[in-house]
Structure formats: structure tokens, C-alpha cells
């Protein structure tokens, strides 16, 4: 989804943070950013024009070495352009929270924490959002088998 008019934005952005590696995935712009530079990169992207927060999610690549990946989508309205930020997160480590730059990341980071157990450092209230507070485990991790979670509310009257 690259448009020629947006090229200067990407170039500007690439010049600001040196550790960011730009790439292309099926015609869409992706950037791999080390977790230490994430806040700086997101800040720069907002200044350059990617001002709308769209999405944040986590992916569990079970057999890869940094096991988790946090994916952030930002959008520029004029000219229309998107940038997708990929941050690798080793199991057991945390990522800096971007809620300071985009308050809208709040719920998305809670969701990623809830479903994958990825921790976001500096999040104001990192609690479960979709699952009950007393839930154990993180069900979208690949090492949680489908069907392993006991189903609630299945008590029915037995006919004997």
C-alpha cells in the first residue's frame, strides 16, 4: 500500500531512527524496530505524519527464537499511507508501552497481555480485558492446545 506521494515520509522516518530496518511484505511497508528504540520510533512516526493509531497485536511464533512479536499499525491520513512496526519480544521479557504516545494503545496492549502474556512496561493498568480476572494462563499462546480449557457453565442435570 505504498503511494509515491508518501515516499518522503518513509525516507524521513528512516533517517530519524538508525536501528529501524525497513522492508516490504506483499507490497506493504514493514519496519523492524528493536524494543529499546520503540518509543523513539513511534514518536518520530507520529511527528512525520503517521498520526493515527490503528492496531496493536501480538503473534506467538512458537519455534522462533524471539518467541513473540508485537505488531503495531499506524496510519497517515494525508497522504494516505500505512506503516507496520514489528517488535520482537523474547519469552519472559517485556516491551515498552506506547500508551504515552498513543493513549488508544491502552486496550490493545491489555488484550495482547491477556491473550499472550506479553508484558508492556509503563502501561497504566495492565490487567486482563477479555478474560475473567482469575483466569490462569494465556489462551492464544501456541503451547495451549485447543480444547484444553475446561468449559464453564456446562453443569446439566444428569438423567440416570
Amino acid at each position: 500500500m505504498t503511494t509515491p506521494s508518501a515516499d518522503p515520509m518513509y525516507e524521513d522516518l528512516a533517517g530519524r531512527i538508525e536501528s529501524a530496518r525497513f522492508g516490504d511484505s506483499k507490497g506493504q511497508v514493514i519496519v523492524r524496530v528493536p524494543s529499546a528504540d520503540l518509543i523513539g520510533f513511534v514518536d518520530a512516526a507520529k511527528e512525520v505524519g503517521f498520526a493515527m493509531f490503528i492496531d496493536l497485536c501480538a503473534v506467538d511464533y512458537l519455534h522462533r527464537d524471539p518467541r513473540f512479536e508485537v505488531v503495531i499499525n499506524l496510519l497517515s491520513i494525508d497522504p494516505p499511507a500505512r506503516v507496520r512496526i514489528l517488535v520482537e519480544v523474547p519469552a519472559g521479557e517485556s516491551v515498552p508501552s506506547i500508551t504515552g504516545v498513543f493513549p488508544g494503545a491502552d486496550f490493545y496492549e491489555r488484550e495482547a497481555f491477556d491473550l499472550f502474556g506479553v508484558e508492556f512496561e509503563g502501561h497504566p493498568d495492565l490487567t486482563r480485558i477479555l478474560l475473567p480476572d482469575d483466569w490462569e494462563g494465556h489462551p492464544l499462546r501456541k503451547d495451549v492446545p485447543v480444547g484444553s480449557v475446561p468449559v464453564q457453565f456446562k453443569g446439566t442435570h444428569r438423567v440416570s
Binding site: N73, I77, P139
Partner: protein, 475 residues
């Protein structure tokens, strides 16, 4: 000779009670009251309540002290609201939902009030969470649309379209022009149906009860066409990777023209009913305001953002399925309040009908599925002639087709805003990860920005104008 049954109660024993009362075998009112009290307290079983329980309750009321009686009747009001109870520090937390009718699903809001002013709002979600993103990892790409169509259940076609476009981008297959135009036709009709339902329920929440009936009435015309085309009124599984499931039914052109006429006539009614109505204006103008900066921060898109003056539509910015060939406008309003969201959505219905008309006039002929045999099963007739075709058919429906490894984000403009699907494939026949970016999720998150420092009575209007679909929020 037996007595005829009492015509009011149907009780043949009723006259016996009058007899018993005359003979003095019915207990006086005071004793009956005692019996009644004991029965209520639960310390003893009723000794002789019999059929007199209800009469006892009546007596109890009449025997009371006049002051208590006046209190019960509401004629005496004791003002015990002391000065101590009023304080600036005291706030009250009330809980709205999850079963509140105006939440249109199972959304719960913690409202912290100071008097009638909302100081803090905390949306609590997850009541409809069923792990559909995980379910998607267990279904093949061909089965995928059956899952995603159930997420945002008011715009099923948009879910299917976003999923199919994401898969097709990874597969790199060509979709025939007829299938693309059918996709546009169905998604735009779906936008009309969704906005009609929104107008109906939001009008209802604001007290315009006729709007409820009108909106559902016109939506019915659209759903009838969906049923004729896909077999179902919702959860269609019609748009699939590689094309659409079936061609349009015979006589679809007349149906589309009829829908357009019905909805346009209805729309004029709604605008006459609502937009100039002083009560409606009072309840919507300046209510639930979002400014553009808040929209950017919270990822508010779609009609909500356009009502706040942000000229952004995925259909114009990142066109899909050939929507760039159609002529339509993007309505933008400036105030960002509930009233402007009505203006924007009503105009969007008109613009969607414009697209529908153009799609119907310029519907190309040809296939409705891609020619790529990796994705599309062989035609039924070939299966009778060729063993290979039969094997191929069997393999596609048991194992599914494989999608090259990669990751892709595909967005479409759903009636609520930007609906995105982030799809990761590991090269197998099932997605490695499917994340759905639902517009409602972002809009529920923006509720505190809309509601803080407004009156509690405006909660309903602001919430309804955001049009959250809880299936989309919780997934």
C-alpha cells in the same frame, strides 16, 4: 344442583368464602395479619393462610398507622436528605450493564458520578469473548469466512471481504470482475442495512419510537435480498477466498431497484421525523463530542471520525475490489456530536445506494470465482468425467489449499469504520494467526473521552451514536 363457576375467577368455590365469612369461621383481619407476617418471616410455616393470604395483605395496609399508610401511598414525603450528605468529595459509582438494553449487547460501564455529572467512565468488556481468533487458527482458509462472518454480526459481508482479500493478497490470485462487482454490491447493501439498524435503535434509545419501526421495516427489504442471494439473513459465508459462493439470483436487478426506492423513501421520512425535531436536536447537538485529536489518539475511524471532520475513508484511501471505479462522495461533518453522526450516516446510505446503482448498471458478465484451480474446486460436471477432478475436489475440501508463508494487513471500510485483518501464514492450509482489528473495539475505548464531564442522561445518546457491536469488540 351445582353452582356455575364464577365468571371472573373461574373459581367454583368463591361463593363458599362469602358463606364462611357470614358464619364467622373466617378469622378477623388482625389475626390474619399475624399469620401473614409469620409466613413472610420464614420462621414458621403458615398456620392458616389458606386462600386468605392476599386478603391479609389488603387488610394489613388498611390497619396501619395513618402516617405509615400515607408513606406507603406516597402522599407523605419526608425530607431526610441532610446537609451532611451533600459534599463535593462524594462521588457515586454506578454500574450500567452488562444487561442494560441501551448497550446493544453485553457492555458494562462503570460510571463515577458527582451529582448527575460523569467524572470517570470505565468500559468493561469481554462478556462475548469466545476466542474466535483462536478458532480461526483451527479452520482452513476455505472455512475461515464462516468464522469471521460471526464477529461483527451486523456487517457480515465486510468481515468476509476483509478476510478474503487478505488471503488473496497472500495467494496472489486474480479475481474475475463480476465477482469483484458482486462484492461491492453486497457490501454496500450491507452498509445500508447496518446504518438503517443503527438509525432505528439509536432513534429508539433517544425516545423516537417510530424510528425503531421504520428502520427495521426498510432493513427488511435488504435482508430479503440477502436471503434470496445467499440463503441466509446473516452469517452468510458468501464472499470467500477466490470469489463469491454463487452468482446473483434471477431477477436481482428488479430487487435492487426496489430496495433503492424503498430505502430512499424511508430516508426522507427519517429526516423529516428527526432532523428538525426540537426534542431530538436538544438531545443530540453538542452531546458525546469527539474532537479530531481524540479520534487520532484512539484510532476512531469511519462515520465517527468523519462526523468530527476527518476526511478519511478506506474506500478512497486504499481502494479494494475495484471500488475506485465508482463515483461516490465521502460526507464529512464538523461538530463531532451525535447529531452530526446522524447526518453523516444518513448521507452514507445515499452514497452507498449510488454505488449500488452503478454496480447494478455496470455488472460485468463472466465467472464469479477465480480460474485458479488451486483455490477453486473443479465444476460439478467435471467430477463425473475425471478421476483427477474428483481427487482434487476431495483434497480441497478435506485438506484445504495451502497459502504461501507471509504476513499481511488488509483493511476494508465497514459501516463502523476501519475493519482490518492481520493474517500470518506459515505456508500451511490454516492461518498461523489471525488478528481482527474491529472498529467497535476502538470506539468503546473512546467512550471515556466522549462522556467525561457530560450528564448521565447523555450516556445513552453518546453510546448509541458510537454504534458498537459487541461481537466485534470481544470476538
Amino acid at each position: 344442583m351445582s353452582k356455575p363457576p364464577d365468571i371472573i375467577t373461574g373459581d367454583t368455590e368463591a361463593p363458599a368464602f362469602a358463606e364462611a365469612a357470614k358464619q364467622g369461621s373466617v378469622k378477623p383481619a388482625s389475626e390474619r395479619r399475624v399469620t401473614h407476617d409469620l409466613w413472610l418471616s420464614g420462621t414458621e410455616g403458615p398456620t392458616d393462610t389458606g386462600r386468605f393470604t392476599d386478603e391479609g395483605a389488603q387488610e394489613m395496609l388498611l390497619d396501619e398507622d395513618p402516617e405509615v399508610l400515607a408513606g406507603q401511598r406516597g402522599t407523605l414525603v419526608v425530607d431526610d436528605y441532610g446537609e451532611d450528605a451533600v459534599s463535593d468529595e462524594v462521588t457515586q459509582i454506578i454500574n450500567m450493564g452488562p444487561q442494560h438494553p441501551a448497550t446493544h449487547g453485553v457492555l458494562r460501564l462503570h460510571l463515577e458520578l458527582e451529582g448527575e455529572t460523569i467524572k470517570r467512565v470505565k468500559p468493561i468488556i469481554g462478556y462475548l469473548h469466545t476466542g474466535m481468533e483462536r478458532t480461526a487458527e483451527a479452520l482452513t482458509y476455505m472455512q475461515g469466512p464462516t468464522n469471521v462472518t460471526r464477529m461483527d454480526y451486523l456487517s457480515p459481508f465486510h468481515n468476509e471481504l476483509a478476510f478474503s482479500l487478505a488471503v488473496e493478497r497472500l495467494l496472489d490470485v486474480e479475481i474475475p470482475p463480476r465477482a469483484q462487482t458482486i462484492r461491492i454490491l453486497m457490501t454496500e447493501l450491507n452498509r445500508v442495512a447496518s446504518h438503517l439498524l443503527w438509525a432505528a435503535t439509536t432513534g429508539f434509545d433517544l425516545g423516537a419510537l417510530s424510528m425503531m419501526i421504520y428502520g427495521w421495516r426498510e432493513r427488511e427489504a435488504v435482508l430479503g435480498f440477502f436471503e434470496k442471494t445467499t440463503g441466509l439473513r446473516m452469517n452468510h459465508n458468501y464472499i470467500r477466498p477466490g470469489g463469491v459462493a454463487a452468482d446473483l439470483p434471477d431477477g436481482w436487478e428488479e430487487d435492487v431497484v426496489a430496495i433503492e426506492e424503498t430505502v430512499l423513501a424511508g430516508l426522507a421520512d427519517y429526516e423529516g421525523l428527526l432532523m428538525g425535531n426540537p426534542i431530538f436536536i436538544e438531545r443530540t447537538q453538542g452531546v458525546g463530542v469527539l474532537n479530531p485529536a481524540e479520534c487520532f489518539a484512539f484510532g476512531v475511524t469511519g462515520p465517527m471520525a468523519r462526523a468530527s471532520g476527518i476526511d478519511f475513508d478506506v474506500r478512497k484511501a486504499f481502494p479494494y475490489s475495484g471500488i475506485e471505479n465508482f463515483d461516490f462522495d465521502i460526507p464529512v461533518a464538523q461538530h463531532g456530536d451525535v447529531y452530526d453522526r446522524f447526518i453523516v450516516r444518513f448521507e452514507e446510505i445515499r452514497q452507498s445506494l449510488r454505488i449500488v446503482r452503478q454496480a447494478a448498471e455496470a455488472m460485468p458478465l463472466g465467472d464469479t470465482r477465480t480460474e485458479d484451480r488451486k483455490v477453486t474446486p473443479p465444476p460439478r460436471a467435471r467430477i463425473d468425467q475425471s478421476m483427477e477432478a474428483l481427487i482434487h475436489h476431495f483434497k480441497i475440501f478435506t485438506e484445504g489449499f495451502k497459502v504461501p508463508a507471509g504476513e499481511v494487513y488488509q483493511a476494508v471500510e465497514s459501516p463502523r469504520g476501519e475493519l482490518g485483518m492481520y493474517l500470518v501464514s506459515d505456508g500451511g492450509a490454516k492461518p498461523w494467526r489471525l488478528h481482527v482489528r474491529g472498529p467497535s473495539f476502538a470506539h468503546v475505548q473512546a467512550l471515556p473521552a466522549m462522556l467525561t464531564d457530560s450528564l448521565i442522561a447523555d450516556t445513552i445518546a453518546a453510546l448509541a451514536s458510537a454504534d458498537p457491536v459487541m461481537g466485534d469488540v470481544d470476538r
